[in-house]
């Protein structure tokens, strides 16, 4: 597992108060991990803070799963 993936999962566990085993790459924040729309806004802010990246609102709206977040952040960091 990449360093980014590891860190993303840690943040999700922390912010949504879910068990680590549930935070699979395909897990949806809202459907699988019990987040509501405000939780996802806060999650995105936590990703921004942790990775020093900016996630614009239109991009944030497309981040629905753990994998979406990892992919977006890895792409940003590679750019």
């Amino acid at each position: 597992m990449s360093e980014v993936a590891d860190k993303v999962k840690k943040i999700v566990v922390e912010h949504l108060g879910v068990e680590e085993s549930k935070v699979t790459e395909t897990a949806s924040f809202i459907d699988d991990l019990g987040a509501d729309s405000l939780d996802t806004v806060e999650l995105v802010m936590a990703f921004e803070e942790a990775f020093g990246v900016e996630i614009p609102d239109d991009a944030a709206e497309k981040i629905g799963t753990v994998k979406d977040a990892i992919d977006f952040i890895e792409k940003q960091k590679a750019a």
Partner: protein
Amino acid sequence: MFAQGFAPRRVVVTGMGIVSPLGVGADHVWGRLVAGESGISAIQGFDVKDLPAKVAGQVPAGSRADNRFDPSEYIPVKEQKKMDRFIQLAYAAAVEAVQDSGWEPEDEPSRERTGVMIGSGIGGLETIQETAKLVAEGRTRRISPFFIPASLVNLASGHVSIRYGFKGPNHSAVTACATGVHAIGDAARLIALDDADVMVAGGAEAAICELGIGGFCAARALSTAFNDTPAKASRPWDKDRDGFVMGEGSGVLVLEEYEHAKARGAKIYAEVVGYGMSGDAYHITSPSETGDGAFRSMRNALRSAGVAPSEVQYVNAHGTSTQVGDNIELSAVERLWAEAGNKLAMSSTKSATGHLLGAAGAIEAIFSIQAIRTNTAPPTLNLEEPSRETVIDLVAKEAQSRKIDVVLSNSFGFGGTNASVVFKRV
């Protein structure tokens, strides 16, 4: 507005929950209060070197088993960050009250007839203070999506309704230091007027932060002369009093329509028999010099109760320990009670808890009910020498055993808002 022949319904108290500087739990807190213990101590949470007031009534941290407060025993950690401390305190007091009442209906019609009315004088002040720092640092984009719902006063009622599925009236009072009485009185009226059968009602406050202490210091409202002897700082009517001591916490009652409570075999602590309100129309922070506002508030409450002053054995005073306010209230009580004053006991429990602002009227409602239940007038601590004489017994320093069937409790707030509530033994 009402069908012809409609008669107001009786309202009783069937649950009590308290989280206070004297600890958690209605009987535990009452025991400490009657024993003359103080909940005032040096401020712990932040550096007070720039603040003239350095003492407060802080809720003791620890486990419920020790009658202390740990938010995690009531609220999942994930949810706590969505609530300012005042909401956490309200939530805990509400859980305590609801469990005490045994009213946790599963059926939809019952839930629709159960509402929540928990107020706060200020709301999420510490959350506002911390979030404002982000703005000052130019980090406005870092404001939490939970900032607004964590700070709003009515979110205490909101969270409690979500926890229990209570779908009746969801409301909130915000009248500074009169909030607690207004919430209880207004909620009782909602039941009396058939808008609900059960209301979870009270107040919560958590303003012991730099912004709260600093703000009241700036208004010259807080005690500053007893920083080295915190337990002596709150001394209503005493000649050396020099301002109020801020407290934090929450008090919540379960109010219930009388027949509803009887039908389910609920234990009934007391009846809410009277409620009165008034406005001073005088000054933003000072009470009217004549005590006219306090007088009319109490008179209105007794009138709605159909009770004469001579039938009231105990008054739980607003009595904040300020130079001006204490004797104005005393004069208003003397005027209303007249000759009956020499049989009256009146004390200020703020001498032990500090002034819980929007929660004051709510915890003092619980103390008023406990006074009836135990036939005991709680003491006014630190009343060494009253600043003036009175025929009224101010219950100096030690609790008194008295026959107490009817109690009136006062709360007055900035803006010149006054509220009084009357409880009676059932």
